[in-house]
Assembly symmetry: D2
Homo-oligomer: 100 residues x 4
């Protein structure tokens, strides 16, 4: 059951290069291993979740991994679409946005 679609962007600050791919790829791995349904975009990864607890747990694992990569500052941007009257699914939201 997916009560909310969470759009998540995580970038490290202060690394020595403008390229942050290896960090972003690591974040995607962690999202993947969480078993949550997700879809990668250019700016955000959309993730289907049932609770804010799932979000907190995921952010904890992401932070731990980035600390392991030597990151000292993290900028996280999140947009949550939460419907109380029905479930929300990534593909359904995309189809509607495309007017299908």
């Amino acid at each position: 059951m997916a009560k909310m679609v969470v759009s998540l962007s995580v970038v490290p600050l202060g690394t020595g290069s403008p390229s942050v791919s290896k960090y972003v790829a690591r974040v995607t791995e962690i999202i993947k291993s969480s078993g949550l349904k997700y879809k990668t975009g250019a700016g955000f990864t959309d993730i289907e979740m049932d609770s804010y607890q799932q979000l907190a747990d995921l952010l904890g694992k992401i932070e731990e991994a980035l600390i392991g990569m030597g990151v000292q500052r993290i900028s996280i941007t999140i947009k949550i679409d939460r419907r109380l009257d029905k479930e929300l699914h990534i593909e359904e939201k995309i189809a509607k946005a495309e007017g299908l």
Copy 2:
């Protein structure tokens, strides 16, 4: 101890009026009663937190209150500044942003 500054915006969708003040004011009350240090802005409320768990707990309470007000859809936007090398405080961040 404040490991992160969370900038939080919560707005209801589909409420039938362009004014959302009563909902936003209720959200601020809940942030206030959480005991966390916060500062209200026009677009976001900045909150000092120690963990993602605190964020999950706060979002749960906010959702509960908005459900009680008959809200059926919530759009939440969050930016988290997390430093691993030192504490972060709202007033210190504002002073630095103003070049003081």
Copy 3:
């Protein structure tokens, strides 16, 4: 040439229903007719742009359309990834985020 990838979310506030699909679909139509390269996500639409002027022009057209649909309040969330050392492309960013 794409200097930046803009992730854009536009939602109306105060409409009478929690469903905002018809508004979001209209926004996507306008993005499509702009000729800019884009990809729809669940939370954001990613768009390749060359200038902030293109962003301003697009937002103006979107606002005009939503006014035509009777919308009285709009919440726009934007994340811009701007690289000064090389071009940015949606598909390349997605491939890198997926570790490819």
Copy 4:
């Protein structure tokens, strides 16, 4: 006349240090010299604007200044609250959010 309140966050990526104060302070200077009414927060600076053109012009000046400081990648996060039925002002929004 302020048709919209824009909440703006600009951070450089890849600068080699987790501290980004000097860049953020420079951005605030540019906002100040624009003459637009603004208020600095911990995560965002709220700015009263009349048009998306003002936003595009401001972003252009900010980018130019950061290029001058050697920045190679910029992450910009923006939330725009646009009301079509009345003006929006920073202090009024804050007062309402605090239930005053």
